[in-house]
């Protein structure tokens, strides 16, 4: 396993320029020939979340400004996780033409997709953070924790993404199942609501949801202006490690079969 991992790392390093090109392709391509271009990456989630903030602040009878900060802080990690998992699901299938014709280390496909989403997420973080400041969010030294939270979030999401990128090659229906499952998971994740408003059976389900600690990682520094509790950090770290190991094991075990099943 260790020797396989070092070989994998060496291979990724050797093909870093392909990786860079694939990431750029993903970032640039979407908004080519639109007037706002890349700005859509920032504007789109901003508008989306603003609508949600207004609607749900009214429903929950909360102050719009406070609720907006609360919601943004939860939506940043959720959107990042969601996009990495959903888009990784199609990473091999969408590149069938390439995979069948030329050798490229398999991990580059889900990795480039995930890195692309990750970069998008960081940029929209700055845009949202500007809004958080504008509506009166508190600035504290806990903000220095956000990069760490991002790294943990990436490891977690990328691990899950790896598993699904391989699994969809074998079971094509998963592409559609993932999207619906993620919708469901969204409502089981305390993004729109506070974790402690739930009780009964649903709260047990939420307690099992592995995404929850990652939402806390972002919400503590951004919304409460304090460090996440040690408990949450430990919990999130463990989940990230398990996830990335699981993802790599699945990929390394199955990567040679992928080309035969596309």
């Amino acid at each position: 396993m260790i020797s396989k991992l070092t070989r994998l790392a060496a291979e990724v390093y050797a093909s870093r320029s392909v990786l860079g090109r694939l990431v750029r392709q993903q970032l640039i391509l979407r908004y080519r020939r639109t007037v706002l271009g890349y700005l859509w990456t920032l504007v789109n989630p901003l508008l989306m979340m603003s609508v949600m903030a207004m609607v749900f602040a009214t429903i929950f009878k909360e102050d719009v400004k406070v609720f907006a900060i609360f919601l943004f802080a939860g939506m940043i990690p959720w959107n990042c996780f969601n996009s990495i998992v959903v888009q990784s699901g199609g990473a091999f299938i969408n590149n069938e033409g390439l995979i069948k014709k030329i050798y490229i280390p398999k991990i580059l496909f889900p990795l480039s997709v995930s890195l692309g989403v990750f970069i998008d997420s960081i940029l929209s973080f700055f845009a949202l953070f500007a809004i958080i400041l504008a509506v009166g969010g508190k600035v504290s030294t806990a903000l220095f924790f956000v990069p760490v939270a991002y790294i943990l979030l990436f490891l977690f999401s990328f691990g899950v993404g790896l598993v699904f990128s391989v699994a969809t090659v074998f079971f094509r229906d998963l592409q559609y199942v993932i999207q619906i499952a993620m919708q469901g998971l969204f409502f089981l994740t305390p993004v729109l609501y506070k974790k402690d408003v739930l009780s009964g059976g649903v709260s047990n389900l939420v307690a099992l949801n592995p995404v929850v600690p990652f939402i806390e990682l972002f919400r503590a520094p951004l919304f409460q202006a304090k460090m996440p509790s040690d408990d949450v950090i430990l919990h999130a770290s463990l989940i990230s490690i398990v996830s990335i190991i699981l993802g790599l094991v699945v990929l390394l075990g199955q990567e040679k079969k992928v080309v035969f099943r596309l």
Partner: protein
Amino acid sequence: MSKIIVDKLSIKFRIYHDRSPSLKDYVANLFRGNRQSAYSDFWAVKDVSLEFNSGDRVGIVGHNGAGKSTLLKALCRVYESSDGRVTVDGRLAPLLEIGAGFHPEFTGRENIYLNGAILGYTDLQLRAIEPEVIAFAELEEFIDTPVKYYSTGMYMRLAFSLATAVHPDILVLDEIFAGGDAAFMARATTRMFEMIDRANIMIMVSHDHHLVKSLCNRVVWMDHGRVVLDGAPDVVIDQYLGLNTHAG
């Protein structure tokens, strides 16, 4: 010096009789425990051992479906072996299908860098060969236009120029390709031959026996995934064609 060793290589494809199994079928089969499978195995390449050394100009001949292209793809690592192994010593350029990594939305210039990186060129190399690639493809005017607006000929010219811009140690060709008008074909053929000349090892699949005889100094005849004969071009091709006329 370059060298390729193919040791008892076998590549298995799984043919599904009705369709790709869904998650539902998979789970259902787990519980049913029935081992009667909905697929059969097909050995595209079976127990092939070959050794290619420096100076070899190898032509691979055989019927459609004999496993020629599969063997080439195994050399280029597109297909991993089901059994046996392939060892490649030297920088290998796979020209199985040119323009495979082109993205239609990207301009010609962007595609040079994207496809070039996939072909294994470094950024430095790409910057150095970029003007020559564009000049050879005669695309100076259109290089910053997205490739999707190119004519087939323009597309082929760009892909060919890029694929043949750097001289590799080991050249792997699946049918000699070149598109475009007569003038470009002539230049492309010269460039191709020059590239074959400079390569340390050249392995090609072709149905053009005259071409194989003129370019190769060794021919491998494959049938049903196995090597039938391996030897001098005249001997092997005559036998292969002889069998063909008897059969036909």
